[in-house]
């Protein structure tokens, strides 16, 4: 009887201790998205996609040259706006409401935006990148059980990632950024994960508060002309 009890205890305990530390969760996640080695080989990512805004199509392109530059372009009806971030400068240009020339980012915004230069994602070698992580247990995200992982980024913006306990994919990210002195919370849901020829797994659908971005093309390690990061 004692032995049965003991083995039952062990059995129960085995279920209890599954994935208890942040590093274990991060490793499971990284394995699910192709492994750290595959990600470390990523030097640039170009993502092209579309978003439907009230039935009209908006084209979005994001190009990240690891550590050197990031550019997001938004095109609607032949009009294109952009956001550029480099280690030393950044610009915003949103002509849709009549802006006529790009505006330089403030030092504070630039510092917060530095994480965008990471083409590999913040969890690959997070400690070396200067981020810290905390596992905040499990939480239900729209009915899906997730690990709740808080990443305190070197740039100062905390990001909470919700990692599906079944697939180990990040299905939601909540970031807090400062804009004009106010804290702004942005929730992004990720889905449509797909394995690319480079061995990495990426989400091809991102749902933002104003709509869903569907990725139509991903180019990994293509040549990126650094000139595009100049205003």
């Amino acid at each position: 009887m004692k032995r049965i009890l003991f083995s039952l205890v062990l059995l129960g305990a085995a279920f209890m201790v599954k994935a208890q530390t942040a590093d274990e969760v991060i490793n499971m996640h990284i394995n699910a998205i192709g492994g750290a080695d595959a990600w470390r080989k990523v030097s640039s990512i170009k993502m092209e996609g579309t978003m439907q805004v009230q039935g009209a199509e908006v084209a979005i392109t994001q190009t990240v040259l690891h550590g050197k530059g990031s550019k997001q372009e938004i095109s609607v009806m032949g009009m294109t706006g952009f956001m550029i971030v480099t280690p030393t400068a950044g610009w915003n240009f949103m002509p849709f409401q009549g802006q006529t020339a790009p505006e330089a980012m403030t030092a504070e915004d630039l510092a917060e935006s530095q994480d965008q230069l990471d083409a590999q994602g913040s969890l690959i070698d997070y400690a070396a990148k200067g981020h810290t992580v905390e596992l905040l247990g499990k939480e239900d995200v729209d009915g899906t059980e997730c690990y709740k992982l808080k990443v305190n980024k070197k740039g100062g913006t905390p990001e909470t990632m919700f990692i599906d306990t079944k697939t180990n994919y990040v299905i939601r990210s909540v970031t807090k950024t400062k804009a004009n002195g106010q804290e702004v919370e942005t929730i992004t849901n990720f889905s449509n994960y797909e394995k690319l020829p480079e061995g990495i797994v990426m989400s091809k659908s991102m749902t933002l508060p104003f709509g869903e971005l569907n990725v139509t093309k991903l180019t990994i390690n293509g040549t990126v002309d650094e000139a595009i990061f100049k205003n």
Partner: protein, 1025 residues
């Protein structure tokens, strides 16, 4: 013991083994989330306010039943941050050194009859994003938390403890490790708790605390006794001495006190006693002196337990109580706040003063938060906190329907379930004063509703004139004095909607809107005289406001199947029914007791089934005897035998059981700590989440018979609505096991949105979102889709794709809204501004459409019928057809113009890319001329000059859009002039097309040939792009 352990483990293992099976729970309902209707116009009781001294604009507001709300902008907007936990908040404290560290004590200590309970202390280390429970789970009520400013690991917590029972879980607690452990450091006995604590900020080992002996029974309460007293310690709580010099003779009741932060030898205290008064001390509490005090300063000590001294000025004393009083001379004299900025709701419980700008005050009342910028002289109301405390809710059948309900200390209101631009505060209408409880709209007279204030003061309200007629039944000759509950039931017939019921100890019925009443029962209560001594209730301060009235009828229900079958439940345990409209009554109290439901509980709700006359459900609330268990009973034999329904999910005492009118196995159960549902008649229950706070105080539940909306009246989060619960009804275990289910869509009336458009955004306050203005397409996903796409394609019957809509991928029920329109046209691109014609599409015509849901590689198909609203005389089917025809003509013009502009853009790009490379100067000149003519044409096709949104520049594209949006953006036939405008613009367009052709003819071949010759474009290419 061992065997039990093995059993537990076996259960654990089997639970893990059954993981693979899909259990129906809140996640099954996916996007069917609650709308928070609010309103914010009458808010709810505020119990704690604390702000971050370092920034003066991050403020936490604790509420009586709506959790904690946080603002980071000094009150312009708020967000709830405690929705997964107990919703009743007693105290909040912020670590003065690290303002990201917040402590929250649950269970308020404004010990009125309707007070909720807490489940301990919580801590956040990230400004309220995440919380951990840290102890004192059985404290039930927490009055105050203070932190040593020099060593913030030291925390004191004043715990009055359980209100309805004796308990050792009370007293003053101290933690020296930032909340990891707590030690009780001041305790009198199991009937005496700690009501207040303060520390001397300059000598933080000096601690003051007041003990309070108090108790409530269902029919009376007592504040005061030998346990109450004022205490002081100078060694951080190791040793204590009682402070008595100058204080009145004991016994004391509740003592509220404050230490002046800037001169902490000064204290003020309101001491409840046989001579309740205000006392001040100038020597650290060693000696006290009584002050003359106004009625407000000393009123209702058990309920008004707040007194605050300005952080900088020791003479400025604030007494938020029945009204708001302040003193500028240390408490010698008081003045009352002015109502210059609007009436300040009575009954105050919390005050925060910004220590760095002591003009700025935040006040918590029974009706919400107020802000003062002039030290409390005038106040403005914060309209964005939807934390109203409803007791009951009812609905009418208007379109959109209205919700009626009564609130704790906030009267009775009516507001719409939807409105153009959303439901804002101003759309709610107050229809009756006092505390509000039951409100019933008259189903046969849309101008009439019945509402009441405490103690059965019922009025018939003319809703148009907002005038009331008192229709309270009166004591008849030789009758006992009528006993009306605080929350007297007013109920309408279900089988016969003309019947209006209300109950004292007797049940009354009226069939003529309360003009005449008939008593239809004997005394249905136990009529226990020991429970009827309310005139002596209150303890040291008499307090008899009808809140303790007892031996009364508390709930009434007419069977939906038979108007002669009426059930009535009392607050003292009787559950009775009549089968003959009240001639004879049967008491089944003895029967339910056999099922393990305690005697003399409050019968909080009764639900006779609409499917079977013999079936009845009832909820039993025994919390006033210190028992918080949720008692939910079902009888299938008219109350002869009862089964206690139970679930490990249940928390909180029971308020309401509701049977779905269509699916007999779908039941909803509301308690003091959650809303629960079952789909199998009560075998398995789950907690309703989906934007419903996990531990919501769910007091009443309605299901709208037309819209199938679930309406929850909460005691702290206003009205919550889950729109159209039909998918829940069809959700069986078999359905839930399927990977994907595309639900059938009922015919949809063609509309651009059923709630209209108000044109302007809200100017603030609480605005509730509307239900979907067009019925959505619904589908169920067994699991969240992480790989593969989800979309909904709509085709017409000819197989033409009308729209492709991205689909959500959530676990459970998903909803995608098709706007019943086509894709917007391709609009000429470029120019200086975005043309909104590109965002507008004509509505499709009535008929059948095919819905194809694509999940990864699988496709699921269904049909939807779109119908024209034949009742709309202002927009006939002929009108619709003409509108569609005209809109499509203009739509086509947009696409034709886009083709012209596309050609121009391509040619101009070719010229721009090559001009600098061209060597031949003639070719260069030709290209410049070509470009100039193209640009001239382009500038006629669309606005290319004015960039400012304030400078209109109207060219052909903009002209087309004006006509296009006029015709297709409204639900009306086009006007004669709109129709006549079409050929005019068509002629203009034709000209542009011709000009374009002429320019091409003139230059294109020449330029292409020249570029080929110079080797700038491949020779095989004819058009250059």
């Amino acid at each position: 013991m061992r065997i039990r352990l093995a059993f537990l483990l076996l259960f654990g293992v089997s639970a893990i083994a059954s993981f693979a099976q899909t259990t129906i729970n809140s996640s099954t309902f996916g996007m069917m989330e609650a709308r928070w209707l609010g309103p914010g116009t009458m808010s709810g009781r505020i119990t704690a306010i604390e702000g971050v001294a370092q920034d003066g604009r991050t403020i936490y507001v604790g509420t009586a039943g709506g959790g904690i709300w946080k603002t980071t902008n000094a009150g312009a907007s708020f967000k709830p941050i405690f929705d997964k936990y107990c919703q009743s908040i007693g105290a909040i404290a912020i670590d003065p050194k690290n303002p990201k560290v917040i402590f929250a004590g649950t269970g308020e200590s404004n010990m009125r009859n309707s007070v909720s309970i807490g489940d301990g202390m919580y801590k956040s280390t990230d400004g309220g994003d995440n919380w951990t429970k840290i102890g004192l789970e059985k404290s039930e009520h927490i009055a105050k938390i203070v932190i040593n400013p020099n060593n913030t690991n030291i925390i004191y917590v004043a715990v009055p403890g359980p209100l309805w029972s004796s308990s050792k879980e009370r007293g003053l607690y101290k933690s020296t490790d930032a909340g990891k452990t707590f030690e009780k450091i001041l305790y009198h006995d199991e009937n005496t708790g700690c009501a207040d604590v303060a520390i001397d900020p300059m000598h933080p080992d000096t601690v003051y605390a007041s003990n309070w002996e108090f108790r409530r029974l269902p029919y009376s309460f007592n504040s005061g006794g030998k346990g109450s007293g004022m205490w002081k310690s100078t060694d951080g709580g190791k040793t204590w001495k009682e402070l008595t010099n100058g204080l009145p003779a004991k016994p004391f009741g509740r003592i509220a006190f404050a230490v002046a932060p800037s001169a902490p030898q000064n204290l003020v205290a309101i001491v409840e006693s046989n001579e309740t008064g205000l006392f001040i001390s100038a020597d650290g509490g060693e000696n006290w002196k009584k002050q003359s005090a106004t009625f407000n300063v000393v009123s209702r000590p058990f309920y008004f337990a707040t007194i605050v001294i300005d952080p900088k000025d020791p003479k400025r004393v604030y007494r938020p109580a029945l009204s708001f009083s302040y003193s500028s001379d240390g408490g010698y004299s008081f003045a009352d706040a002015s109502n210059e900025g609007g009436w300040v709701h009575s009954d105050h419980h919390a005050l925060w003063i910004n220590p760095n700008n002591t003009n700025q005050l935040y006040l918590g009342t029974d009706g919400g938060v107020y802000i003062s910028l002039d030290k409390g002289a005038t106040w403005s109301f914060v309209q964005s906190l939807p934390v109203g405390q409803f007791y009951h809710a009812a609905v009418d059948d208007k379109k959109p329907y209205n919700i009626y309900g009564g609130l704790q200390d906030n009267g009775s209101w009516v507001g719409p379930s939807a409105a153009a631009g959303g439901v804002s505060n101003g759309m709610w209408k107050a229809i009756n004063g006092g505390d509000g409880f039951w409100v019933q709209p008259d189903p046969s007279d849309p101008n009439i509703a019945y509402a009441e204030s405490q103690g059965g003061n019922i009025n018939r309200i003319n809703l148009t004139a907002t005038k009331a007629v008192n229709i309270k039944p009166q004591q008849a000759l030789n009758e006992e004095k009528l006993r009306w509950n605080w929350n007297t039931p007013i109920v309408l017939g279900v089988a016969n909607k003309k019947n209006l019921y209300m109950g004292s100890q007797y049940l009354y019925k009226s069939t003529d809107q309360g003009r005449n009443w008939t008593r239809i029962s004997p005394d249905l209560t136990t009529n226990d005289k020991k429970k009827q001594d309310q005139e002596n209730s209150g303890g040291l301060s008499a307090d008899n406001t009808s809140a303790e009235n007892h031996c009364t009828i508390f709930t009434i229900a007419e069977s939906p199947l038979d108007e002669k079958m009426i059930w009535a439940g009392t607050d003292d345990g009787n559950l009775q029914y009549t089968l003959d409209g009240g001639k004879t009554w049967t008491n089944v109290a003895g029967n339910y007791a056999k099922a393990g439901i305690p005697a003399q509980t409050w019968i909080s709700s009764i639900e006779p089934s609409r499917f079977d006359k013999k079936v009845v459900y009832a909820t039993f609330d025994n919390h006033m005897y210190g028992d918080h268990k949720p008692y939910l009973g079902k009888s299938t034999d008219m109350g002869k035998t009862w089964t206690l329904m139970n679930s490990t999910e249940f928390t909180g005492f029971a308020h309401k059981i509701k049977e779905d009118p269509i699916n007999k196995d779908l039941l909803f159960f509301g308690t003091e700590m959650g809303l629960f549902a079952t789909l199998d008649g009560g075998k398995n229950w789950f907690r309703m989440k989906n934007k419903i706070p996990d531990y919501v105080l769910a007091r009443d539940i309605q299901i709208h018979p037309r819209t199938h909306d679930l309406i929850v009246a909460t005691h702290g989060r206003g009205i919550l609505i889950v729109d159209d619960i039909s998918p829940i009804r069809s959700m069986t275990k078999e359905t839930a096991e399927k990977e994907v289910v595309l639900f059938p869509t009922a015919p949809i009336t063609l509309t651009m949105g059923q709630f209209g458009n108000s044109g302007f955004p809200s100017t603030g306050g609480w605005v509730a979102p509307n239900p979907p203005s067009i019925p959505p397409i619904k589908y169920y996903l067994k699991d969240r889709v992480s790989s593969g796409d989800v979309k909904v394609d709509v085709y017409d019957t000819a197989g033409k794709l009308i729209q492709s809509i991205p689909g959500s991928k959530r676990k459970g029920v998903n909803m995608v809204q098709w706007n019943l329109s086509m894709k917007p046209p391709k609009v000429a691109s470029g120019g200086t501004k975005i043309d909104f014609g590109a965002f507008l599409a004509p509505m499709v015509l009535p008929g059948d459409y095919i819905i194809q849901l694509k999940v990864g590689d699988s496709t699921y198909t269904s049909k939807v019928k779109l119908v024209h609203d034949a009742t709309d005389k202002n927009f006939t089917l002929e009108d619709r057809k003409l509108q569609h025809k005209t809109a499509m003509e203009v739509y086509k013009m947009h696409e034709q113009l886009a083709d012209v502009v596309d050609t121009i853009n391509a040619k101009q790009k070719l010229i721009k890319d090559n001009l600098s490379k061209v060597k031949d100067s003639t070719l260069k000149r030709t290209m410049v001329a070509y470009n100039d003519e193209l640009e001239k044409l382009r500038a006629e096709c669309l606005a290319t000059k004015q960039k400012s949104i304030f400078a209109d520049e109207k060219k052909l594209r903009e002209e087309i859009t004006e006509l296009y949006s006029g015709v297709s953006g409204q639900e009306a036939a086009p006007s004669n002039m709109q129709v006549q405008r079409v050929p005019v613009l068509q002629a203009e367009l034709k000209k542009k097309e011709q000009t374009n052709q002429q320019i091409l003819k003139k230059y294109d071949k020449q330029v292409i040939d020249g570029l080929k010759k110079e080797g700038l474009i491949p020779t095989g290419e004819k058009k250059g792009f």
